[in-house]
Symmetry: C2
Subunit: 345 residues, 2 copies
C-alpha cells in the first residue's frame, strides 16, 4: 500500500496540515521543520494519491474553455467527439468544458472569441488558431496572467503554451510521398498539387515533407501545377476543373488541405485524360464516399478524436498532478486510410 500524507506526518512528528503546507510550498513553516518533513517524505517515497486529490478538489472544478474554428469545418466534428468523450469520463473528477466555435481563420474573430472565452474565467484554455503574431501575443498574455493554454491541431510557435496536441505536418507530407513511391511506376509522375493556402504553415509543411522524400530518394516528379483552394470546395472545384483541362497528363493529385470534395468533383466530371490517382488528408462523410467510389486512393489522417481527448487529459493531469513543470507535446500518428480499413475504426 502506498504511503499517505498521514503516515508522513506521523513519521515526522507533525500534523497533516503542516506536511501539506510544505508539499505545496505554501510557506509559513519553519525552515528546519520544512527540511525535516521533506526528507522524511522523500525517504518514505511519498507520492500524493490522485483519487484523494480529485475528491478534495471537487470544490473547485476544472473548467476548460475551447476555441475552435469548427463552424462549417467537418474535420472538427471528430475533435469535438473526442473532447466530449473525455468530458464524460472525467466529469466526476471535476472536469467541465465549454466550447466557443468560430467560422474560418480571421484573426480578429479568433481574438474576439478567445477574449469572450476568457470572460468566463476558465481554469485553462485550449485553442486551435493561426500561427500569427497577434494570436501569439494574445496567448502569451493569457499565460502570463496565469491561465495555461494548450494549442490543439495547430501549434503556436514560440509561445508559452503548455503543450501542443496535434499532428506532425512534415511527417504526414512525407507519408504522402512514401505512398506514391511505393506504387513504383518507374516513370516521372506528373503531379498536381492542390494546397489550402500558401500562408498556412501546416499546408506548406505537407508540401515540404513531400518534396523532402523525393529529394532524399533521388527521384523526381514533375510538378504540373499548384493552386490554392482556400479550404473552400467551390473555389477548389472551379480551379481544379480548369487545371485538369489545361493539364491532361496529370497522374496524381495531391491535396494538402480542405477543398477535397471540390477537387474530387472536378476529377469525376472530367470526360477525358488519363486515370488520376488522389492522395488527400483527413476524412469526413464525403471523403469516405469518394474513397469508396475509387476516386480517392489514400487518405492520411491525424487522429482527430485523439486530439480532442488528449487535450483534455493533458490539462486534467497537469492540474491534478500539481501544475508543475514541463508538459510533453502529444503528436498524433499519420494514419493511412484506404478503402479497406476506413470504416472499421
Amino acid at each position: 500500500m502506498a504511503v499517505t500524507i498521514k503516515q508522513v506526518a506521523a513519521a515526522a512528528g507533525v500534523s497533516r496540515g503542516t506536511v501539506d503546507r510544505v508539499l505545496h510550498n505554501r510557506g509559513g513553516v519553519k525552515p528546519d521543520v520544512e527540511k525535516h518533513i521533506r526528507k522524511t517524505a522523500d525517504k518514505m517515497g511519498y507520492f500524493p494519491n490522485r483519487a484523494g486529490k480529485i475528491l478534495a478538489g471537487r470544490k473547485q472544478p476544472l473548467t476548460i474553455g475551447y476555441v475552435l474554428p469548427s463552424i462549417g469545418n467537418l474535420f472538427f466534428e471528430d475533435v469535438k467527439t473526442g473532447i466530449h468523450t473525455a468530458e464524460r469520463e472525467m466529469k466526476d473528477f471535476g472536469v467541465n468544458i465549454t466550447i466557443k466555435e468560430v467560422r474560418g481563420f480571421d484573426v480578429k474573430d479568433h481574438i474576439g472569441a478567445i477574449n469572450a472565452m476568457m470572460e468566463e474565467n476558465p481554469s485553462a484554455l485550449c485553442i486551435s488558431s493561426i500561427d500569427l503574431p497577434e494570436i501569439r501575443k494574445c496567448v502569451n498574455k493569457i499565460v502570463k496572467k496565469g491561465t495555461p493554454v494548450v494549442a490543439i491541431n495547430n501549434d503556436l510557435s514560440n509561445t508559452k503554451r503548455l503543450c501542443y496536441v496535434g499532428s506532425d505536418y512534415i511527417v504526414s507530407g512525407r507519408t504522402a510521398a512514401g505512398l506514391m513511391l511505393l506504387c513504383r511506376s518507374r516513370k516521372k509522375e506528373n503531379v498536381l498539387i492542390a494546397t489550402g493556402s500558401l500562408n498556412v504553415k501546416g499546408h506548406n509543411e505537407r508540401i515540404q515533407g513531400f518534396n523532402e522524400v523525393f529529394r532524399e530518394r533521388n527521384v523526381q516528379y514533375h510538378l504540373e501545377d499548384l493552386f490554392e483552394t482556400q479550404d473552400d470546395n467551390e473555389i477548389a472545384y472551379f480551379k481544379a476543373k480548369k487545371m485538369l483541362e489545361s493539364h491532361p497528363d496529370v497522374d496524381w493529385v495531391y491535396i494538402t488541405a480542405a477543398g477535397v470534395q471540390g477537387v474530387c468533383r472536378a476529377i469525376e466530371e472530367r470526360t477525358q485524360g488519363k486515370e488520376i490517382r488522389v492522395i488527400c488528408f483527413d476524412t469526413n462523410q464525403y471523403v469516405r464516399d469518394y474513397v469508396e467510389r475509387g476516386i480517392i486512393d489514400y487518405v492520411i489522417c491525424q487522429e482527430p478524436k485523439e486530439q480532442g481527448y488528449q487535450s483534455v487529459k493533458k490539462l486534467f493531469d497537469y492540474f491534478v498532478d500539481g501544475a508543475k513543470g514541463h508538459v510533453d507535446d502529444y503528436i498524433t500518428k499519420a494514419v493511412i486510410k484506404i478503402n479497406e480499413n476506413m470504416n472499421f475504426t
Copy 2:
C-alpha cells in the same frame, strides 16, 4: 453540480445507508420504501460519483491477472507497455496488475499458467490464448465462479468472456489486399503466402480477408505457393529460401504472422529473380529495420499498446461502474505503416 447520494436520501426522507442498499440491490429494504427511493433517485437524475467510489473502494483494490504468451514474442512487448501505462495511471485508483508469461501456444502450458494465476485470487483475468475447447472450457469455468475474463489479442469464441480487446483479422487481411491493388500493376500478380499456422484462426482470417477483396473486385492473383512458418524465424527462413528458389516469378510475398525476419532474410539473400514486394503484420525492431532497408513495403499493425491499455481500462470501468451488464469489445485499427510514418509514433 451533480446530485449526491446524500441529497437523494434527504429528498426521500431516509438515510444514506438505505439509499446505498437500494442502489446496490443489497436487499433488506421494505419494497415500498425501495420503490420510493428508486423513483426519487431517478427523478433527481442521480448518478454515482466515480471519484467518491474509487476512494471508498481503495480498501479492496482491483487486481488484474494477465496471462500472455509473451516469452520470446516481441509483439507482446508493446502490449505490456500499454498495460503498464494503464497501471501507472490507475494505480492511485486501486488498480494492481500481475503478469504471468508463457512461451508459445501449448494448451497445457496455458491452462497451467491460468490456474497458477487464479491461485493468486485476482479480481479479474485477462488472457491471450488459443481458441480451443479446453481453453474455452477453462475460461467459462472461471467466469461462472465469478471472475470476469477479458480476451486480449485473440478472442475466445462462444465463451462468457466479458469482452474482446484486439484486432479484426479479416479487416487486416482485406487491407493487405487493398494496398496491393492500389499499386495497380494491371497484371496478374504472383503471390507467395507465408502464413503462421493453418490451425490458427487469426492467420486464416488474414488470408480469407485478402481473398475476399480480390473476389469482390473481380481481380485475380496467382497463388505461387503457401507455406507455414510456425511463427518461427528459422523455419520461415529455410522454407522461404526453398520457395523462392523454386518460384523465381514471385511478385509479392504476403506474410500473415510471425517469422517475418526469417522470410526477409531469405529474400535478401536471393541472388536472382524479380524484385519482390512484401506485406506483413506487426512491427518490432527487426521489422522496422527491414522496412527502412526497403525489403518490406507495408506493415499492417494492430495498436498493441492500445490493446494493453484498453484491456486494463475496460476492467477498471467495469468494476467502478458497478459490474453491470454488457461490455463492448474494443477493436483496434488496422494501421498501415510504411517507411515514412513508422518511426514517428
